[in-house]
């Protein structure tokens, strides 16, 4: 019967016969397990606690899809929230500046700064056709400058010639001079690894920031990092103006909790993932992949997604059934209102109707009052179950009570009752009419439309 309705309207008009909602007890129980999963994935304790606290209200009251356990539902909600916190928005490097764009690469010893510097330069040259100069400011680790030079030579990326005995600030000045002459678009400064509590070395970093005035300061962090990730990220951010994060060793079997820790405490977007030892193994960040690792419950998440999809079909059938039976109760309508609000209010829903061109103008002209949905929701919520199932019993004193309870007035309640009656009629007509019933209608009955104003 409804074959010709679009998917969107399917979900908009969906409802459950029996709705179960997650309660606080279920949320707490589920979140205990989530907490455990996060900690075992090396998400910092403070970040774990905060995350659990924030996600809890999002769980309580959520509908549980049929054939899904509350636990599975919670996992799905947590997964979505993880993706959200990790950064669902795509974030590019800040290259929109007068060249040379200056990038400073910082991090702990052994996090993969030098390799990442070369990968980034390669990425900029190959993918964005920028000319790049790489400069190593690591005068401490033996052969660190040579390492960058070798990587440059092997991959056709220019590096600043090494002059033994120069200090980092001097080298940075020399690099800036060099690019002003040779005109590279981007200059990347690789720095020595440093522990974030080494004050002298952190001071050096501050000094380099002042000297170079970089457009991007990238923290290179090992995705295998444990609880210390928060301290590392926080301290680097305190010292310099961090703008992004590169996570390395994503090709390991680490759970990557550090990603969440660092993103949560710094707010800096994770822009790249280093996924191997080869020069081109640098990828833009995919939060879903990391969320999946941290939670380690990808199977459950896909299961819930699959069930949600299947359920759409079930819901449609349910609507069909109910409408065929002519039972269009206020509970049904309440579900619809809630769904409608999700997909853009009344005009949103009406405009998704098939064969709608005829109605579209009518809708536009009718000035629908979108706040009406909220009022109607309040009215329905003020009804008893009995009233919702059988609106005929709503007489004068009931109307008065409902109006008071919902903070509206009797005329609003009347309007809703009238509207409900009209809608029931439309539904009945449609169910009798079969395929094309809507097209058979002469637009939306003007009475109904007026009632929505």
């Amino acid at each position: 019967m409804f074959e010709n309705l679009t998917d969107k309207i399917e979900s908009a008009f969906s409802f459950f016969n029996k709705i179960t909602r997650l309660d606080e007890k279920q949320a707490d129980e589920g979140l205990r397990k989530i907490r455990q999963a996060l900690l075992e994935s090396d998400v910092a304790l403070s970040v774990t606690k905060k995350f659990i606290e924030d996600v809890k209200p999002k769980i309580i009251g959520q509908e549980v899809l049929k054939s899904i356990t509350p636990g599975q539902m919670i996992i799905k909600i947590v997964n979505d929230e993880l993706i959200n916190v990790l950064g669902s928005e795509k974030s590019d490097l800040n290259l929109e500046n007068v060249p040379p764009v200056k990038i400073l690469v910082v991090g702990l010893q052994g996090s993969g700064k030098t390799t990442s510097t070369a990968k980034l330069a390669h990425f900029l040259q190959k993918k964005l056709t920028k000319k790049v100069l790489m400069t190593s400011l690591d005068i401490y680790r033996p052969a660190a400058q040579q390492q960058l030079q070798v990587l440059g030579n092997d991959n056709d990326i220019k590096t600043l010639p090494i002059i033994e005995g120069q200090l980092p600030v001097e080298i940075s000045k020399r690099a800036l001079n060099a690019v002003s002459l040779s005109g590279e678009d981007v200059v990347i400064f690789d720095t020595a690894g440093r522990t974030q509590i080494d004050q002298q070395m952190m001071m050096e970093l501050k000094q380099l920031e002042n000297e170079i005035r970089p457009h991007e300061i990238i923290l290179v962090a090992d995705s295998l990092t444990g609880q210390d990730a928060v301290n590392i990220a926080q301290e680097f951010q305190k010292t310099v103006n961090l703008s992004s994060i590169i996570l390395t060793r994503i090709d390991g079997d680490g759970k990557g909790g550090a990603a969440l820790s660092m993103k949560a405490v710094t707010g800096c977007p994770i822009k790249f993932l280093a996924t191997g030892e080869k020069i081109d193994q640098l990828e833009t960040f995919h939060p879903d992949r990391i969320a999946n690792r941290i939670l380690g419950m990808g199977d459950v998440v896909s299961l819930v997604e699959k069930v949600a999809e299947d359920l759409e079909q079930e819901k449609i059938e349910k609507i069909e059934d109910d409408i065929k039976k002519g039972s269009f109760t206020f509970d049904t309508y309440l579900q619809q209102i809630r769904q409608m609000k999700k997909v853009g209010g009344m005009s949103g829903v009406l405009s998704m109707m098939p064969g709608v061109s005829k109605m579209k103008k009518q809708i536009d002209e009718s000035n629908l009052d979108e706040s009406l949905l909220n009022k109607q929701e309040a009215i329905i919520l003020s009804m008893t179950q009995k009233e919702r199932d059988n609106p005929k019993i709503i007489g004068g004193s009931r109307k008065k009570r409902i109006a008071n309870g919902s903070g509206t007035d009797i005329s609003m309640v009347n309007k809703l009752l009238k509207q409900h009656k009209m809608m029931t009629n439309v539904m009945k007509k449609m169910s009798k009419g079969g395929r094309g019933a809507l097209q058979g209608l002469d637009g939306i009955p003007p009475d109904l439309l007026n009632n929505l104003k």
Binding site: Q36, L39, E40, S41, D42, A44, L45, S46, L108, Q109, G110, S111, G112, T114, Y140, R141, P142, A143, A144, Q146, Q147, L148, Q149, V150, L151, D154, T195, Q196, I197, D198, D222, L224, T225, G226, Q227, D228, A229, N231, I232, R249, D251, G252, D253, G254, K255, G257, A258, E277
Partner: protein, 305 residues
Amino acid sequence: MQIFKKISEGLKKTSKNFGNGINDIFKKSKPSNEILQDLGDFMISSDIGLPLTEKIIQNIKNKKFSDEELNQKNFLEILTNEMLEILEPVEENIFNKSNGLKTILVCGVNGTGKTTTIGKLCKILKDNNSKVIVGAADTFRAAAIEQLDNWCQKNSIDIEKSDPGADPAAVAFKTLEKAKLNNYDYCIIDTAGRLHNKKNLMDEFSKIIRVMKKIDENAPEKTIIVLDATTGQNALNQIEEFNKISKLSGLIMTKLDGTAKGGVLLSITEKYKLPIYAIGVGEQVDDLQPFVAKDFVKAFLAKNN
């Protein structure tokens, strides 16, 4: 001995950070659930890992304490004892002079500090009058050979090296051969960092060992994994996988001079009983120190004065 003088200094650096947070916990006099919760939080924040944290908390819960025992100092002792019980049996010092050739193969994932650790280790062994030769079998990472060469030159250590990209097994073979012929006390092989879940790289590692065994079937006498203290629970996977290729003899943990507490050492010990040879507490040549459980635990729990 120089290195022992350094211990207290180095650990002082560490303990400053180790001690953060423990102060408040022990101010309370009863191991109420709240205290146990705080204690658990402290252990988790130190990378001890959830399962072991829960186990230790359970241990403490199951014990009965008199009021006297529950005062601040004693309670600290309780946790100290729990930790020492785990760590003391795995103390092992490898810095002594050897009788006859000892072959040490050093492995680990990328960036944990293998080359730096070898540089420091050679210096200590040499200072203890051992004759040392190093094989630069990390032929993969750019300038890895130069890095090791640089350390060796500074400390007059003999090095066997090849060109970048050469077969690491061949370098190991040549080094061991030379060590045998020339009566060295120690032959130490540096290898490229490799993620333990990369089959081809682990195969390469396995080949290095196979080839060394052609010269001496007992070689390598010690296979040491170098772990980074900032690493979280993944360190357990690292041990598990490297151990499959070559039975690990022990471990060295680096970068304990930062704020990372390296608590994963406890979980590792609990599971693998692997000897802990040394810890790295800084970038200087004598910042590699023998592992002493008592000092480590003291630093781990020390108050932040």
